[in-house]
Amino acid sequence: MIKRSFFKSKYIPYLLILPQLLITLTFFYWPAIQGLIQSFLLSDPFGRRSTFVWFYNYIELFTDPLYLKSIMITLIFSVLVAGVSLFLGLFIATMANRALKAKAVVRTLLIWPYAVAPAISGILWLFLLHPSYGIVALGIKNWLGIDWNPVLKGSDAMIMVTLASAWKQISYNFVFFVAGMQAIPKSLIEAAAIDGASPLRRFWSITFPLLSPTFFFLSVMNIIYSFFETFGIIHTVTQGGPGGSTNIMVYKVYQDGFVGLNMGASSAQSVVLMSLIILITVIQFKFVEKKVQYTG
């Protein structure tokens, strides 16, 4: 789209868009194409020569049990993170929406974890869940009688990174849910109340369906968050361990490429991730536009 009235100039528009295009070409398109090319190449151990090997890297990748496990772990992890943070965010937002008098204070008290870096959130939870010093770990051991040890047990490590990742995301979801609830017309709620619907019934029959666009949008954002931005948490808390039980796909790209220097495999994994995120984006655009839009 363009304005009805616009300027005419031979060179100004090109100059204005040039910095953006230069950066995009250098740091987005060139690397993306390079990655695509490298994913079809196999280099010798000294990195001198590389041969074109068709889909060899991809076939290797998808027959590698470690990679399949990493895909599984990423899926479980993202569903857990999205589930926990969406549930808590929605719950707190519903409560905050009812507590009209304290709204501003509540928002201030809940909003700041968004600004905490994922890696720092990782450090905080690493301490809380530390098998020998952590107070939450102590509670789990004493009250639930579980032998908590995230250093040795994969499932415990997964719970730890999930909590650290979900905690940070609660405030993000909270902000969007509160905004979504404020957009719901008061008259709908009042009409339902006059008809004798209880607060719980009103939530399930009015508020929740009207929040569905927000809910869908947030699910996508939370999944993207747990796919990519949680890198810092994994790196500080578990480094993918123990035994690869928290080695999500992004972390595996880093490990294989940057630590293991296996260029072909790393590039193929990058391409898989890129396709995945393009798919998510397309689904989001298609779905958000058509299906789940109630509010005008």
């Binding site: 009235s5 070409l25 060139w30 700041w112 107070i135 790393s266």
Partner: protein, 306 residues
């Protein structure tokens, strides 16, 4: 509230307080830990009464982690990313919305396609570009066999070797992260809502495009810019993967990454009081920005994702 539900109201506030407590607990607990001596912090469970070692711990953490340098680096990186992103996006959006030229649609599409390609999915190749930013140019040069062409023209042996590494530099920390489709898109959406009459009037008064931009469009965008400043500052400050890749010199590392060295490992003294003290110090700048610019922050967050 539509009707009186005293019991439910009580529960509302109770749940709300419980929620706030759960969200705040990690920080409160870490703050208490940061005030303890090494002896107290390694007790199981750690006493919940704050100790008096806060300043001692902070000073120790500050010097041991070299936090002064690293927070400064983070600050420069965050500011650079914020300013760079906003500048190139607002100019780009101005070009796309207010001019008609041949490659307008192509330019917009090529920027828009990068919307969902975070640096995390193209780690290795982007690192290679950062190791030599002129690499793409060099590749083009070699591809066209321009060495041979120049050698033939000058009748001398000619070899062009372009090399500009961004590793361990502020430019390298900032530049690759400032291309942002979301910001460009946001400004584009906003410019499209600006009344047509403003531009017509400006043209009638003989204003050049850049005068119109400076005198009319920029002041109108003030709130959008403020909102983006908050969001992008937090984004830049909290970057992890990119600085981890391209900095090896501890003097160039950012604070969030430097913290890693303070976490006690299995064989170290369990100096969690220092690690947590440092963590709280490092997280402070973006948290303060968000808290004090809360209104802009919420606006920016919601507008950006529209």
């Amino acid at each position: 509230m539509v009707e009186r539900t005293p019991l439910l109201d009580i529960f509302t506030y109770l749940f709300l307080m419980a929620g706030i407590l759960i969200v705040g607990f990690p920080i409160i607990y870490s703050l208490i830990a940061a005030t303890q001596t090494l002896e107290d912090v390694s007790k199981v469970p750690m006493p919940l009464i704050p100790g008096d070692q806060f300043w001692v711990n902070m000073q120790e953490a500050w010097s041991r982690g070299d936090l002064g340098t690293q927070i400064m680096n983070s600050f420069i990186m965050a500011t650079g990313i914020t300013m760079g992103k906003i500048t190139i996006s607002i100019l780009g959006a101005f070009s796309i919305v207010y001019f008609d030229y041949r490659f307008r649609a192509v330019a917009f599409a090529s920027v828009f396609c990068t919307l969902m390609l975070p640096v995390e999915v193209r780690i290795m190749p982007t690192y290679e570009v950062a190791a030599n930013v002129l690499g793409p140019l060099q590749a083009l040069w070699d591809f066209l066999h321009l060495n041979a062409v120049v050698s033939w023209f000058t009748a001398n042996e000619f070899e062009l070797a372009l090399d500009w590494s961004l590793l361990d530099s502020y430019t390298g920390l900032i530049l690759p992260l400032i291309a942002s489709a979301t910001c460009t898109f946001l400004f584009r959406q906003f410019f499209l809502t600006v009344p047509e009459e403003l531009c017509e009037a400006a043209k009638m008064d003989g204003a050049s495009p850049m005068t119109f931009f400076r005198k009319i469009l920029l002041p109108l965008s003030k709130t959008n810019i403020a909102a983006l400043v908050v969001i992008e500052f937090v984004y830049g400050y909290n970057q992890y993967l990119w600085p981890l890749l391209i900095t090896t010199n501890p003097k160039m590392t950012t604070a969030v990454i430097g913290l890693q060295n303070l976490i006690p490992q299995a064989d170290d003294l369990p100096e969690w009081n220092l690690a947590l003290g440092a963590a709280i110090l490092v997280m402070l700048p973006p948290v303060l920005v968000v808290l004090f610019m809360q209104r802009w922050f919420v606006k920016g967050l919601i507008e950006k994702e529209k």
